[in-house]
């Protein structure tokens, strides 16, 4: 019986190791065919900004990895609207993440869903396991 796993991402990338560690754990968890969701709140929304270029800071740019999540059947990615707005960002500032739906002739669909804090609370309430990074 697959459990519902939620990975909560709350920290900006590069400044601390949390964002990269979360991504590693998500990819490992996905290999065990659990029902995986990701949420990005607070500074976690910065993990998904597009156009990241780490050439100048000598660190690995791991942001392209998010676009591979769809291939691992990780396609429920929730971004909290309030966190995004507070940071002067919109969905257009984030990567466009997609997945292909096997049941609909591999139609390409959006992975990111913009949700309010109240909607996210309901989604969290529905999970079996919540891991925070």
């Amino acid at each position: 019986m697959a459990k519902k796993f939620m990975y909560m991402n709350t920290k900006a990338p590069y400044g601390t190791i949390y964002a990269l560690e979360s991504l590693e754990v998500v990819l490992i968890g996905a290999a065990f065919e659990q029902d995986v969701s990701l949420a990005f709140i607070d500074d976690g929304v910065y993990q998904l900004t597009k156009g990241q270029n780490t050439d100048g800071i000598g660190m690995k740019n791991f942001s392209p990895t998010y676009s591979a999540l769809g291939d691992y059947d990780v396609n429920k990615i929730y971004v909290e609207k309030e966190s995004l707005e507070e940071r002067g960002l919109t969905l257009d500032d984030l990567q466009h993440l997609t997945w292909e739906d096997e049941d609909e002739d591999w139609a390409e669909k959006d992975s990111i869903k913009l949700v309010s804090r109240a909607e996210l609370a309901d989604i969290l309430d529905d999970q079996d396991v919540v891991l925070s990074f």
């Binding site: 900006a12 590069y14 500074d43 270029n53 942001s63």
Partner: protein
Amino acid sequence: MTTLHTVNKSPFSSSALDNCLGLAKNGSTVLLLEDGVYAATAGTKSAEAIANADGVSFAILGPDAQARGIEGKLADGIKVVDYDGFVDLVAEHDKVHAWL
């Protein structure tokens, strides 16, 4: 005594920038680096606080802004420096106060 203040924490997860702005004197410079660069994003409360801090100069470390994908969203009036510019700022001020 002129001071270069450095802030390396996001304004949303730490009070480092607020503390720094509260105590920075006229003629000092605040350099935003690492996660501190998010403070300079246009349309945020922190960018507003920076715009209202009269008498204090602001600079941002370009490579850190580029790494985070926000160099196109910076508020006006903030000077972007590279690592050489960082060294110049340190040399131009009497001391460095690294806020945590």
